[in-house]
């Protein structure tokens, strides 16, 4: 099968890639661009470990075709920290011990960023509702929810 030429923006950098027509965005990121921070947990949109932000919305990258990245603006976990340091969410996850095995962590961080982008002051219930598309099997979510609430406070104080 002929590969498709795709021009896209990933973590602020314009990127050109060749993708197989049947290739998912997740495979494109992981196998084509070596951005392995997004994880495959189920490949059917139920675990959220592959979550990325695409044009301002969170998507399960396993359910998006690589070809659909044409002209899109994509943020992956690799784009969360800056040369100045970790994102407040990343710092809050560390300080709250909000990860155990860590495989779901990139997806949770991306979903949480998307939440705080649209709702900088969420309630516990809003955090739980927003993160319900991301499965964690280790933590029971307690420390994850606290970390997101802490990061929201931290970001508000920093603004």
């Amino acid at each position: 099968m002929a590969k498709l030429h795709v021009e896209t923006t990933i973590n602020g950098e314009s990127t050109e890639i060749l993708v197989d027509p049947q290739q998912s965005l997740l495979e494109t990121l992981r196998d084509g661009l070596m951005l392995t921070g997004a994880k495959e947990g189920c490949n059917d949109g139920n675990c959220g470990a592959c979550t990325v932000i695409m044009d301002g919305r969170t998507v399960n990258s396993c359910l998006v075709l690589g070809a659909e990245a044409q002209d899109a603006d994509i943020t992956t976990i690799e784009g969360l920290a800056t040369p100045r340091g970790l994102h407040p969410l990343q710092q809050a996850f560390l300080e709250n011990a909000a990860l155990q095995c860590g495989i779901c962590t990139p997806g949770f961080l991306i979903s949480s960023k998307s939440l705080l982008d649209s709702n900088p002051n969420p309630s516990e219930e809003e955090v739980r509702f927003w993160l319900a598309g991301n499965l964690c099997r280790c933590t029971g979510y307690d420390k994850i929810v606290r970390a997101v609430l802490d990061a929201a406070k931290e970001m508000k104080a920093g603004n």
């Binding site: 049947q22 992981r30 196998d31 070596m34 951005l35 392995t36 921070g37 997004a38 994880k39 495959e40 947990g41 189920c42 490949n43 059917d44 139920n46 675990c47 470990a49 992956t76 976990i77 690799e78 969360l80 920290a81 970790l86 990343q90 996850f93 560390l94 300080e95 709250n96 011990a97 990860l99 155990q100 095995c101 860590g102 495989i103 779901c104 962590t105 990139p106 961080l109 516990e124 955090v127 739980r128 509702f129 993160l131 319900a132 598309g133 991301n134 499965l135 964690c136 099997r137 280790c138 933590t139 029971g140 979510y141 307690d142 420390k143 994850i144 929810v145």
Partner: protein, 759 residues
């Protein structure tokens, strides 16, 4: 919020009990950490496995010729490519297994014994080519009748899963029922007389379904078989030494020819201890001459790896009006899956271990059925039995009108009391754990609605020790490299490093821990049995003691005195006779080159003194009588942790164990059709708890020190799941008036129970 209850007075430790940020944290929040599937090697091929569509079927023939002809297909193997293994036992850490069965489970030779049993494997240049090749493999099947639950498997005349299953006679030379691989029995006192003398006797039957550990990272591995017959495996397992030894045994190649490189692991919970995939991908790499990578799909994880046993349990209990338990009579039947080896023995030993029971008859049947071979799942075998035991305890307490915690406290085991298997408890905190929930404000708080209920339960788990190794290297700037062999699933690198930091008197951050491959550190057993912080931490403690002894000698040289004239306090070495002569750890490290060269320490330990663990929960639920949905409103989970090395990660173990228990109680189950085909092999239909399903989970750390560990630690990972299903069931009973004696208490089953009650 989490709270800590210290039973004995605190010591002066500076690092143990603090909450440093984990050393691998930045890698794991930035996406840099390399997990099993994140590795890519030049010329690497991709693997797909053909799996049996039938629960029980004879392989008449397999034709792989057409698959091999597909461009891009580089290697195909079937069961015939695996060497014939000798019939010998392989220690898997949490249970042993016959090598023949391990090999057969990796790939069926003559019969497929469950839906999902591997029968052939393909390596190709692209994943989709490998997938296409699977459909070109022609298998001729002779479908056989399947047995799908313990009762039908044990019935007279049941179809036999194994034609040649070795069966030992039961008591009195009685032949065991069909498909029973092992039979256990504990028998103490005189149960018959005790029941006759009891004021109350309750007898119930309980059923639970097969459940999965539900780790988010599918099983995955990469293998490279090189021209010199050496083999390298990259994997995310619960123990790379175990992977090495198991692969060596199944493929019958020397241990020294295999190097296993541990990558980060995305959850295991017992399910990634043994695995069928390593010999398969190794042989594919051997045939293809290049590296091959295999990652399971989620459906393969459900159907082709080891879940936790479904069970059928009968329990009878007697008690006096005073609350004293008189006797128990228990029969547990656990699904082993397609090969022998369920965790039924653990259920038999542990289910009544929180109590003193003088008369007990407990038997267990390990029953082979045409389902995936079960594996360990967090306190393997015990949560099911505890669900039955703690449900019936709750009912007996109610029948004599006693508070359920008071009833448990009246019967609770303490040091030197015997368990039903005859073992005496060492220093334990069962009583303190029960008191922690009894005295917690949660237990005194009111419920707020007509369909709400509160349940309690306690659970026991024995924990493990096994073997751990550790090396320490002191760097010139006073930092220390720590090399250990325990795969880190939940922050154990840091807990281990904290042991060394405490001994050396330096901050945990000055230690740099690394999980080394099988060629770079001494043999270390699996990350399982709640043993890692306990035993590998202890290995780090011993290695640090060696470093400290050497550093004191070096300081003596600098101080121009003898080692007995040097003391070490808070990271400073000081001369006893001359107070002006002192060196910090950093200063001494900087001088090591001049007084004998670098200092390293190492230790390999197989600790005794494992501290057993108890956990007790209070759970509040609300049951919607219209929909049958059970909402968990509040959970308080107290646990005797001995000494919390890193309290945040101890709380995390408790919260995670509770969450898994709630999933098991309310929703999770393998649903099979009559042909033994799983109907829900995905996360949409095998429904694990989401953030919206759970409340905050309050962990109460009870610290009754374990005298068998330098800092008093007990294993903490497994016991938190043990009491959960019972505490949820007891809460649901108080909300509905129905005692649910089958899991899960999913909406349909709740409605069925409510409907039955009304008629």
């Amino acid at each position: 919020m989490a709270t800590t209850t210290t039973v004995e007075q605190k010591t002066t430790e500076k690092v143990i009990g603090t909450r440093p940020i984990r050393h691998d944290g930045v890698d794991k929040v930035t996406g840099r950490a390399i997990y099993g599937a994140d590795i890519n090697l030049p010329k690497m091929l991709h693997v797909k496995i053909l799996r049996s569509p039938h629960a029980h079927a004879r392989i008449v023939s397999i034709d792989t010729k057409q698959a091999l002809d597909i461009p891009g297909v580089k290697a195909v193997i079937t069961g015939e490519d695996l060497p014939e293994p000798p019939s010998q036992m392989q220690n898997l850490g949490e249970g042993a297994a016959n090598l023949r069965f391990l090999s057969d489970n990796a790939m069926a030779r003559t019969k497929a014994l469950y839906k999902g049993h591997a029968v052939a494997a393909v390596a190709a240049t692209e994943l989709y080519i490998a997938e296409e090749a699977l459909s070109a493999i022609k298998v001729t099947w002779e479908i056989l009748p399947a047995v799908l639950d313990t009762e039908s498997a044990m019935a007279e005349g049941a179809p036999l899963v194994h034609d040649d299953l070795p069966q030992r006679p039961m008591e009195g030379d009685q032949a065991p029922p069909p498909n029973v691989a092992r039979y256990f029995r504990f028998n103490i006192g005189d149960t018959q007389q005790a029941f006759e003398e009891s004021d109350t006797v309750v007898e119930r039957e309980f059923r639970t379904q097969m459940v999965h550990q539900g780790y988010i990272e599918p099983q995955t591995a990469t293998a490279l078989w090189k021209e010199d017959e050496s083999l390298t495996i990259w994997c995310s397992s619960q123990g790379h030494f175990n992977v090495r030894d198991q692969t060596s045994n199944i493929l019958q190649i020397p241990v020294s020819s295999i190097k296993v490189i541990p990558l980060e692991i995305g959850g295991g919970f017992g399910g990634k201890i043994g695995s069928t995939i390593y010999p398969v991908i190794s042989l594919l790499s051997k045939k293809a001459g290049v590296p091959v990578k295999y990652s399971m799909t989620r459906a393969e994880v459900f159907e082709g790896t080891g879940p936790g046993s479904g069970t059928h349990m009968r329990v009878k209990i007697g008690a006096m009006k005073t609350g004293k338990i008189t006797a128990v009579d228990v029969s547990l039947s656990y699904e082993a899956g397609a090969y022998p080896g369920s965790s039924v023995a653990s259920g038999c030993q542990n289910m009544f271990s929180p109590y003193v029971i003088e008369n007990a008859f407990i038997e267990g049947f390990d029953v082979i059925v045409n389902k995936p071979k079960t594996a360990a799942y967090r306190a393997p075998g015990t949560p099911q039995a505890a669900y039955a035991g703690e449900s019936i305890i709750d009912e007996v307490a109610e029948s004599i009108g006693m508070d359920p915690i008071d009833f448990r406290l009246l019967n609770v085991a303490e040091e030197d009391d015997s368990r039903v298997d005859g073992t005496k408890h060492r220093v334990i905190g069962a009583k303190e754990t029960l008191e922690a929930i009894k005295n917690h404000p949660h237990y005194k708080s009111p419920l707020n609605g007509p369909n709400q209920g509160r349940g309690v339960a306690i659970g026991y788990w024995g924990n493990a020790g096994m073997t751990s190794s550790c090396s320490l290297i002191v760097n010139g700037d006073g930092t220390v490299n720590l090399v250990e062999g325990s795969v880190d699933i939940g922050g154990t690198r840091t807990a281990i490093a904290m042991h060394a930091a405490e001994v050396l008197g330096i901050p945990a951050e000055d230690i740099h821990p690394v999980v080394a491959d099988t060629e770079s550190v001494g043999m270390t057993s699996i990350t399982a049995g709640s043993r890692t912080a306990f035993a590998s931490g202890w290995a780090a403690y011993e290695a640090a003691q060696g470093v400290l002894k050497e550093l004191i000698e070096r300081a003596a040289t600098v101080f121009e005195t003898t080692p007995d004239q040097v003391v070490h306090e808070d990271g400073t070495f000081r001369s006893v006779s001359d107070n002006d002569k002192k060196l910090t750890f950093k200063e001494l490290a900087g001088r090591l080159q001049r007084v004998g060269g670098p200092v390293i320490g190492q230790a390999t330990i197989t600790p005794r003194g494992v501290g057993t663990a108890f956990g007790a929960d209070i759970v509040d639920v609300e049951v919607d009588p219209e929909t049958g949905k059970v909402q968990v409103l509040r959970v308080t989970a107290a646990q005797d942790v001995g000494r919390a090395i890193h309290p945040s990660y101890v709380e995390g173990q408790i919260q995670g164990g509770v969450a898994q228990g709630i999933g098991w109680a309310l929703n999770e189950e393998y649903v099979f059709n009559d042909e033994g085909v799983m109907q829900n092999p995905g996360f949409l239909d095998y429904r694990m708890p989401t953030s919206l399903d759970l409340p905050m989970i309050e962990a109460v750390l009870v610290e009754k020190r374990n005298p068998g560990h330098p800092y008093g630690a007990r294993g903490v990972g497994e016991v938190p799941i043990v009491p959960v299903m019972a505490s949820v069931a007891n809460a649901v009973y108080r909300a509905t008036g129905v005692r649910y004696q089958a899991l899960p208490m999913s909406p349909g089953n709740i409605i069925a129970g409510l409907t039955q009650k009304d008629h």
